[in-house]
């Protein structure tokens, strides 16, 4: 069996990116959209750490830690906004949030 190389990690990351993008673009539930965005951020983290270990350069790992912290802050703010919306509108579906258009 071949060893796992940087290329494998990049493939995994690309797959996660595609799943995430597809999730954001097709799902109706805002909670799932949020999860899909987190998925893309994790794809970025895998990329960074694979590159970091490939080039023996610690910068990518530090970057990944900042992305983790940022993803948490984003999730917290996003859920807060979602709860505020749910209290006023009783929906968490993206296509029912339609007061503002044209």
């Amino acid at each position: 069996m071949a060893p796992i190389t940087t290329g494998h990690y990049l493939g995994l990351s690309a797959a996660l990116l595609l799943i995430g993008v597809a999730g954001v673009l097709t799902r109706r539930s805002i909670v799932v959209v949020l999860m899909s965005i987190e998925l893309i951020l994790n794809a970025v983290n895998i990329n960074l750490i694979a590159f970091s270990s490939n080039s023996q350069n610690v910068r990518g790992q530090i970057f990944a830690m900042f992305i983790i912290a940022d993803a948490v802050a984003e999730a917290a703010v996003g859920l807060g906004i979602l709860i505020a919306l749910f209290r006023n509108k009783d929906t968490v579906l993206a296509d029912e949030v339609d007061l503002l258009k044209w």
Binding site: M1, I68, A69, V72, I83, F86, D90, L93
Partner: protein, 152 residues
């Protein structure tokens, strides 16, 4: 050094086999040697523990979302301690002061949520809690309501 796939994964196979054998042995031994008693206490989920009080699919108040959110925020702050801990000795006092500043900022955030009454779940005194909307509202929306809304 293992060279082929079979050699690489052989230890895993041994471990899996050992786990199966030991698990099967323990279950069958207690079945063969143990005394057999049948009563209602025996059928409870936790024979020697807490008496179950209801369904496991319990509804939680939406207050807990706030607590969960704050937990994960403060939890993740800890990841910045790891790289600091690795090079703490080389950074000397400078690293200490930097981390002190960082912790101070986290504590400021903690002080803020504490004074805002987020940690105080027991009472709902509207005058104590202030926010753009007047106060931090603790209206109950249960996860199931959200789930129903998601499925609609």
């Amino acid at each position: 050094m293992p060279t082929t796939a079979a050699e690489t994964y052989f230890p895993v196979l041994v471990q899996a086999l050992l786990a199966i054998v030991i698990a099967a042995a323990l279950v069958s031994l207690s079945f063969l040697l143990g005394r057999k008693v049948k009563n209602s206490v025996k059928d409870m989920p936790y024979e020697c523990g807490i008496v179950p009080t209801g369904d496991a699919r319990h509804r939680f108040s939406v207050k807990f979302y706030l607590v969960g959110m704050l937990f994960i925020l403060f939890d993740i702050e800890a990841i910045f301690l790891y790289p600091w801990a690795v090079v703490y000795k080389e950074l000397k006092m400078f690293g200490f002061f930097e981390m002190f500043t960082f912790i101070l900022l986290v504590v400021a955030g903690f002080f803020y949520i504490w004074k805002k009454g987020v940690l105080d779940w027991s009472h709902n005194d509207p005058s104590a809690l202030r926010s753009p909307a007047g106060r931090v509202e603790m209206r109950d929306h249960h996860p199931e309501e959200i789930l129903v809304a998601m499925k609609r």
